[in-house]
């Protein structure tokens, strides 16, 4: 039992390895001192209004495109696992897999070439880039639920809907959340690019900073973007902790 557990590395959601928080705190402190010396803090403070405004816009884009992607991706992934469509599901997944190798910048560019400039093409592109990991993980998560659980459930007299809601989805939730987590990380990181096609968000500070060769401006976009990405990740992980049954979460023992 012990060797089997040790042999399989399972990525963890929240729990940091015990020595890490201390290390991270020390590193942060050092970084803080360094940053202060470069005058970056003042730089950030002087742009604070821009930063909060653009962060808000940033997160709005994430919420809309990511929310829509979850709303579409999860049901679609579930649908693909239903016996009626299972024959075509593998082909659909092939297409999705190819789709997921397309770089996000290319998706944005293609979206712009079809829908023009503005928030709508930006949201559409973000939605498309976010959708694939969600569908894929929902699909594989449910397919990975062991056959014998379904058989036991059927033998106990559960209806197909009860099996889906009480056995298949709860046992796939961890994998589904991993997909949502990846997807939202990609989403937050791609939003700055959305600025390029007129989507707004923190990309404005980053790309303008690059263009004007003003590192301070660029960092006041880049640092909040990175922070938001890590925060989003934490939030999803927290929600997963709350929603996913302890009996399904790996690595807790």
């Amino acid at each position: 039992m012990k060797t089997a557990l040790a042999a399989r590395y399972v990525p963890r959601f929240i729990p940091l390895p015990p020595l890490l928080p201390a290390l991270a705190a020390a590193a942060l402190f050092g970084l803080g001192v360094l940053v202060h010396a470069t005058g970056l803090v003042d730089e950030l403070a002087s742009r604070w209004e821009d930063i909060t405004f653009l962060s808000q816009q940033h997160m709005e884009l994430v919420a809309i495109s990511g929310g829509l992607a979850i709303l579409c991706g999860v049901p679609f992934g579930i649908l693909l696992t239903r016996p009626a469509v299972r024959r075509m599901a593998e082909n659909a997944m092939q297409v999705l897999n190819i789709g997921s190798t397309i770089p996000t910048l290319a998706i944005l560019a293609l979206s712009m070439s079809v829908l023009g400039i503005g928030e709508r093409p930006a949201i559409f592109a973000l939605w498309a880039a976010t959708l694939l990991p969600i569908v894929r993980n929902t699909y594989t998560g449910i397919l990975e639920v062991p056959r014998h659980l379904i058989e036991a459930a059927t033998g106990m007299g559960m209806t197909p809907l009860q099996i889906l809601l009480r056995v298949e989805i709860p046992n796939a939730l961890y994998v589904m959340f991993a997909g949502i987590r990846t997807a939202l990380a990609v989403n937050v990181g791609t939003v700055p690019l959305a600025f390029l096609i007129g989507g707004g968000g923190l990309g404005e500070l980053i790309f303008t900073g690059i263009d004007l060769n003003e590192p301070g401006m660029m960092l006041s976009g880049a640092i909040p973007t990175a922070t938001l990405a890590v925060l989003t990740d934490l939030v999803v992980a927290l929600v997963a902790r709350f929603v996913v049954s302890r009996g399904v979460m790996p690595g807790d023992r």
């Binding site: 770089p103 998706i107 070439s113 700055p192």
Partner: protein, 216 residues
Amino acid sequence: METLRFIGDNASLILYLTVQHISIVGVAVGLAILTGVPIGIAITQNRRVADAVLYVAAIIMTIPSVALFGILMPVLSLTGHGIGYLPAVIAVLLYSQLPIIRNTYTAITNVDPALREAARGMGMRPWQRLWRVEIPLAVPVIMAGVRVAVVINIGITAIAAYIGAGGLGTLISRGISQTDQRQLVAGALAVSLLAIVADYALLWTQRRLTPAGVRA
């Protein structure tokens, strides 16, 4: 149609940018293999160190590429290389660490304990075990990590065009700023195609590298 003509007219430019793109990804992922695989093997010795290393690598992965470029720029400009090739390569190198380290680590720790035991029983030294049993079995899984790294980083390199690294992203960035549909679509298609082809080529390599006895 317009786009097709543009592609025909600028074939040599596109080819040049493609080569540039590949060279950034190739050099960086190559370096990433040289660092990531030994790290992945080394951390199999200690579970807590492994957790820590993988966690740090995972955090790097969550930093958006644009933000990472942004953070690298002022640091590297101290050496006079704030924009261009170097930050692109370093960013790609960093982003490649997680898939490669994680797959190496997982592959080595997943080697059946019975095999390890058998190898020890036959009198192999730890190094011999590593070279003759563990690494050969791990190669396909490591390759899968390399594949993931390459695909991710073809996309990231495209973004690096904005910090002057060149590559196919140049077409897209110019297309956007000049609202030139032809360049935009040509660039997007080229970079997508490159990612898809690289994915399949590496998948093929991965299968070839899988020992016949292990293939499913």
